[in-house]
Amino acid sequence: MISFEQITKTLGGKTVLDDVSFEVPRGETVVIVGLSGAGKSVTLKHMVQLFSPDCGTVRIGEDVISAAKGAELERMRQRFGVLFQGAALLQWLTVFENVALPLREKTDLSEEEIEKTVLDKLRLLNMEDAVDKFPADLSGGMQKRVGLARAIVMNPEIILYDEPTSGLDPVTARLIDQLIENLRSELGITSVVVTHDLHSALAIGTRIMMIDGGKIVENATPHDFIHSENETVQRFLESQYITRRGSWEKGMQTHG
């Protein structure tokens, strides 16, 4: 579905991605983990051409998005929904108007149809009572849920999540995890999630990929990931009190 072929990217004189290649299969949730500044968000932004690679190719199915321009790029981007780290809601629009924005701008739906679709999505995220509020009146968790409603309102094939649970309380974080998992299991949506939260990664990921120093140091199923022999991975697991036996197994039971 998404394919990175030998991507290299340098920002401010520093090589952020160094000859990175990987694939995200259709219908899977790939979680990208790593330390701050490892290149996770840069990787995610290459998928929708918010960054262009210095060399290499990014494909979405058969489409080469890294070289696309104009109307072609717009068409490719419409296959995506993106939840940004800070939700990125337009501050002068209400919750309803934010979620309705892509429908109003990119479809010919009537206002009645738009209202029905927006309320359906907000109901899915328990945000239907906040339709008339402005983003500034919402907590961080509520803003993220509205951002997620906006990301899924066009029924995209692929959803990208940039730190979906950062700054959230554990209950809201698990709610977001559950929503990501439901979107994959019930609607078959392909997802790429960037996170620091390994508990969340292990709960929602069908594959987990770790980036360190601009290179992929591990790309494995959750089970294989926690059994990885790679030292960087092991240090990362230990930093979040996840051992090969014990806490993660408990986490699996909790997350179901």
Binding site: R77, F84, Q85, A88, L101, E105, K106
Partner: protein, 262 residues
């Protein structure tokens, strides 16, 4: 590397970056102009109306004070000099021609650059650093159409209207000073004001106002959309918008005057 060569290289880099920025801003302007045809669609119309209100109505207070006092100062300064030759009755001509040719569009441009231009740069800059612009791009909503075009239209439309308002208030302010301080009757002031001013003066002044509006919108939107480095970057974009707009208003104003009067 020796000092002169390093300085030369740094100077060259600044020139190159400035040219790149100017080219980028002109591309943005061109793209936004092409989207003007969409300004009459219902949703775009609403956004244009909001921007017209922000640019026009919200700036009226400060423009009223500045225009009035500009006319009063002009009348007082020229009147005091003309009085030495017994020609103070001609302040009507002096104030009117200076206001409609130069001071009207110039003062309006400076006020709008400082108030509306800086606000646009701060708003778009904040949107850029909080990834709202990236979110629009990912939703395939072109920021040039969605954000730049309504502001460009609002400034290009409101600047000449505000300039006419500035001209009128400045001339009235001059008339009041003439009547109260220089002993020039209001009727004589008005007769003198309308006798020598030509339609060309008004049209050139309004043309300048439109150009200044386009300059302010382009600089402010470009600075906002290219903001980097968080809150510090937003402050820098705002400051640059005011400085670049002021300089361009001065230089372009001179060039237009030269083009039409020499």
């Amino acid at each position: 590397m020796d000092m002169p060569r390093r300085s030369f290289r740094r100077f060259g880099r600044i020139i190159l970056l400035s040219c790149h920025g100017a080219g980028d801003a002109l591309m943005m302007l061109g793209s936004s102009v092409l989207y003007i045809r969409t300004a009459f669609r219902p949703r775009a119309r609403h956004e244009v109306a909001v921007q017209l209100f922000i640019t026009g109505i919200k700036s009226l207070g400060v423009i009223t004070v500045v225009a009035f006092f500009t006319g009063m100062i002009l009348a007082l300064q020229t009147g005091l000099e003309l009085r030495r030759f017994g020609q103070e009755v001609n302040i009507g001509t002096a104030v009117t021609i200076v206001m409609i040719r130069e001071m009207g569009p110039f003062m309006t441009g400076l006020i709008i650059a400082a108030s509306v231009g800086s606000a646009i740069a701060a708003q778009l800059g904040t949107m850029t650093v909080s990834e709202e612009i990236a979110a629009l791009e990912v939703m395939s909503i072109n920021p040039n159409r969605f954000l730049v075009m309504p502001r460009l239209v609002a400034l290009a439309v409101m600047m000449p209207i505000l300039t006419i308002y500035t001209n009128l208030l400045g001339i009235v302010g001059g008339g009041i000073v003439g009547a109260t301080q220089l002993g020039v009757a209001m009727q004589a002031y008005i007769d003198n004001a309308t006798r020598y001013a030509e339609n060309k003066d008004l049209y050139v002044g309004l043309f300048k106002a439109v150009v200044f509006g386009i300059i302010i919108a382009t600089v402010a939107c470009h600075q906002g959309l290219t903001t980097r480095e968080g809150a510090v970057g937003v402050g820098r974009a705002t400051r640059r918008t005011v400085i670049i707009s002021f300089l361009m208003i001065l230089v372009v104003g001179y060039m237009i005057t030269r083009m039409f009067y020499i």
